[in-house]
């Protein structure tokens, strides 16, 4: 099953799912985690809004696509 899917596919999946579950785990175990300041703004805007939502997905899309 899934024979022939390049290894980079599993690496990309691992990065996206790993990121989600790591930060979600921190959110449900550390009170107030989303609002902890990082680089001057609440952390959730960095790890969720900018990185998880847009930047990481674009990086994975480029890596996926002689």
């Amino acid at each position: 099953m899934f024979k022939g899917l390049p290894k980079v596919f599993w690496a990309g999946m691992g990065l996206l799912y790993g990121w989600f579950f790591l930060f979600f785990l921190l959110e449900i175990t550390v009170p107030g985690f989303p609002l902890k300041k990082f680089l001057g703004i609440p952390g959730c805007y960095l790890y969720n809004w900018i990185l998880a939502l847009w930047v990481l997905n674009m990086i994975v899309a480029v890596i996926f696509y002689e």
Binding site: F20, F24, E27, I41, W54, M58
Partner: protein, 531 residues
């Protein structure tokens, strides 16, 4: 609140550009291949922007901010799940399906599972999802018509249906690919402009966060870490994970995006299209996150209806709106995003938002209507029941089917059965649980067979539809586990059926007869990247 001439002008400019693109590209549609798959001559940037605008719908543009407005910060992860599913599709289905290059969504099922009747079987959940999606697109278009013209909701639904009808009637995939690309750029720009206005209004992200917390102190609360959750549906980890996975695999397996992989020039272009879809879709989602987060605060501090006697909060504003404009069913909460933008009192901003909203609603309606046209005309009347009519007169068949689909969906749109995002979630779960496993495993697993495909599609279509409707009607929300009680186990949209579907499909495949070797070679092994 009356109609604003600047907002009307913005909508007219949008329609003028759409007509110009439609007129120019219509000349390119010469034969059935051009009509159905744009002659397979669309580059990655255009195809990617078109992919984003077709895939993302009013369920995104109105529904996601409405759900952030209702459920709070934890729902942000649902948006991450949707965009995160896009790159996965690059290698999982986009490249293999472009290599195979069919015309219709059901072609793969008929070929891989070696039976024309698979078109009929796969057509059942596709028809359910398609009707749901065209309906929510008409509701979305109607809400933007209401925002532009300040007309009664029922009148807005009729105008919206006419707009969608004329647009789809105009041309096939050629017209809708080029105009959908323009719509993809428009919707992304609209959401980003809305977010910039919002952040600027509060003087920055920190100012916005403080303002949100002053109105909704629990907004950023997360399950378990805080004594009180941001919402009852966000009180369990399954709420967040369930919403993350509800739409996650959609980009790889939903009929209306899968057909856009067919229109790419070649496999390389199909793969690169996904990057541009992530670029435009992700940009739009970043904007929608901000608008949804600030919606309650903007409405309660700025909306003109807050001055009305008896109106005390954002929910009251929406109730008042429902009363004034006669908005049917659950649709008024979907207006929260527009109401938030109305609060900023900028006609230019509202014009941009309405153009973006019309763009996303019309492109999704067109994409799904084309899928249903091909399914009902070419696939069922032509391939299953043997008529030559769809091949000889594709435009005539398409237009008759378009009329049929839009009339049915308009009748439902007058009184929407749920919020647009809930309608979308139901469509996704039905499709992903039923036709998702035979599509994905059909490519990537040699043992996938006809018996399992038929059994999975029929069983999962019934179970997912029944459990969703049971929870929605008997428990008051489609997000409670249908065998528990209201306030019991949170399972957004009964999302577990997607995973159950894959397990069920594998088990049935293992205990029944495999397909012929030559079929498996041609439609499974040969489609994989190394071959």
């Amino acid at each position: 609140m009356g109609a604003n001439p600047v907002v009307i002008l913005g909508a007219l400019i949008y329609f003028a550009i759409m007509i110009a693109i439609g007129w120019y590209s219509r000349k390119a549609a010469l034969n059935a291949s051009d009509y159905y798959v744009a002659g397979r001559k669309v580059g990655p940037f255009v195809n990617g922007a078109a992919l984003a605008s077709t895939y993302l719908s009013p369920a995104s543009f109105l529904g996601l901010p409405a759900f952030i407005f209702l459920l709070g910060y934890p729902f942000w992860w649902a948006l991450v799940g949707i965009i995160g599913g896009m790159p996965i599709a690059t290698l999982l289905t986009a490249a293999p399906l472009r290599k195979y290059a069919p015309t219709s969504f059901t072609d793969y099922y008929a070929d891989r599972y070696d039976s024309k009747w698979l078109r009929l079987v796969a057509g059942i959940p596709t028809l359910i999802a398609g009707i749901a999606y065209v309906t929510l697109s008409i509701v979305g278009t109607a809400l933007f018509m209401l925002a532009i013209l300040k007309l009664n909701f029922n009148v807005s639904v009729v105008i919206a249906a006419l707009v969608v009808f004329v647009y789809v009637y105009w041309g096939g995939m050629v017209a809708t690919t080029w105009s959908a690309a323009f719509q993809g750029v428009t919707m992304a720009v609209a959401a980003v402009v809305g977010a910039i206005y919002t952040i600027a209004h509060f003087g920055g992200i920190n100012g916005m966060t403080e303002a949100v917390l002053s109105i909704s102190p629990n907004f950023f609360n997360t399950p378990y870490a805080n004594e009180k959750a941001s919402h009852a549906l966000m009180g369990m980890w399954t709420g967040v994970v369930g919403f993350y996975y509800t739409w996650h695999f959609g980009f790889a397996a939903m009929p209306y995006t899968v057909v856009r992989f067919f229109t790419a020039q070649d496999i390389k272009s199909a793969r690169r299209s996904v990057f541009w879809a992530v670029f435009f879709g992700g940009a739009m989602y970043m904007g929608l996150t901000i608008i949804g987060t600030a919606a309650r605060t903007l409405i309660e501090t700025l909306h003109p209806f807050m001055q009305v006697e008896g109106v005390k909060n954002a929910v009251d504003v929406l109730k008042h709106m429902k009363q004034v404009y006669g908005v049917g069913g659950a649709a008024v909460t979907d207006y929260s995003m527009i109401a938030a933008m109305e609060g900023l009192k900028s006609p230019f901003l509202l014009a941009v938002i309405c153009a973006g909203g019309l763009a996303i609603a019309m492109s999704t309606a067109a994409g799904w209507t084309m899928v249903l046209n091909v399914l009902l005309g070419r696939d069922l009347i032509g391939k299953v029941f043997g008529s030559n009519w769809p091949e000889e007169k594709p435009v005539q068949v398409t237009r008759i089917m378009t009329t049929l689909v839009i009339v049915i969906c308009t009748l439902i749109a007058f009184n929407p059965p749920a919020l647009v995002l809930d309608i979308s979630g139901a469509a996704f779960i039905v499709i992903l649980a039923s036709v998702g496993p035979p599509l994905i495993l059909g490519i990537w697993w040699h043992r996938a067979n006809t018996t399992a495909a038929v059994a999975n599609i029929l069983v999962m279509t019934f179970l997912s539809t029944y459990s969703w409707m049971y929870a929605n009607t008997k428990l008051g929300s489609a997000h409670w586990f249908f065998l528990s009680k209201k306030g019991g186990i949170v399972t957004p949209h009964q999302f577990y059926w997607v995973f159950v579907g894959f397990v069920f499909f594998i088990l049935i495949s293992l205990i029944t007869k495999p397909n012929k070797d030559e079929i498996v070679k041609k439609y499974s092994y040969d489609l994989r990247p190394e071959n």
